[in-house]
Each structure stands twice: as C-alpha cells, then as structure tokens.
Symmetry: C2
Subunit: 89 residues, 2 copies
C-alpha cells in the first residue's frame, strides 16, 4: 500500500525557499508567476497486512489514525506546517 503525504508551510509562515524559486522563475522570464511555495511530498510504502478479525473499513480507519500519528510525531512540524494525505492503493 502506498500513502502520499503532502506537507506545506502554513500560509502565515514566511517561505524563503519559495521566494528564491520565485526570483529564479522571474529571471527566466516567467513574469506571470505571482508566488511560489515549496513543500514536501512523502511517500510511505506500507505492508498490506490485514488482520482477519477486522473489516476493511475498520482497518482503513486505523491506517488513517496511524498516518496522522506519524505526521504529528515525526514528519510534520505542526507549529509551522500543515498536512494532508491520500491512500493511493
């Protein structure tokens, strides 16, 4: 199973890397760009073990709980960043 986690800086937080990319794009002649923000995309590959005593709905719910926990404990700095994720397959 593959999970994609998208992490981005909150809108109120300054993004110097984004500003640098914006400058670079403008220097290349792309004047139509108004702003750039640079975030992260984290791909998790998870083993497909589904306990037989659970419905697929319950295990999907559990998976979402696990991913949220991973994000909050390690992957995302929730003070300045926000995240969303999708289970791909």
């Amino acid at each position: 199973m593959k999970v994609l986690i998208y992490v981005r800086l909150k809108d109120t937080v300054l993004d110097p890397q984004g500003k640098a990319v914006l400058g670079g794009l403008r220097n290349l002649g792309f004047a139509e760009i108004e702003n750039v923000k640079v975030g992260k995309m984290i791909e998790l590959y998870i083993s497909d073990v589904q306990p037989s005593d659970k419905t697929s709905e319950a295990s999907a719910e559990e998976l979402r709980g696990h991913i949220k926990e991973m994000c909050e404990k390690l992957l995302v700095n929730t003070v300045i960043e926000e995240f969303r994720f999708e289970v791909v397959k």
Copy 2:
C-alpha cells in the same frame, strides 16, 4: 490560478533522506512501514490573464507548456528526478 508540481527522485536513485525518515518511523514503533521516499511539492500561483484572442483550451495547452519548461529549466533535476503536475483552479 494554482498549479501543484510534484517532484520525486526516480526509483533507481538512492534516497538517504527517505532512509533516515524510515529509521525514525521504525524507532517510533511503526514496523509496518517498508520504505519511505521524500520528494517536493511546489505550489505556483499564476496570474489569471487570458488573452481574448485565444480559446481556453489553447491557453490551457500553453500553460502546460510553460509549466513543463519551468520544471525542466529550474525546478527539477531531470537526471535524477521526475515530476507531474496538476492545475488546481
């Protein structure tokens, strides 16, 4: 208009950052994670100027061309990375 560009290392390229995150998640007890890859998500905010002498289809096509050019010239190292993008609104 907002464009999301997703940049990831090609599958054949080693990802030390991903390996570090994998180790961190396993240390936290998430043993079900098999692999992690860390990529980038770049948000572009583009001014909505649509020339009146073009159909919306032609300008959408032009936009896709521009974004591809930005990726290949600045945003993506096409030797080791691959990208996909979506126009959000």
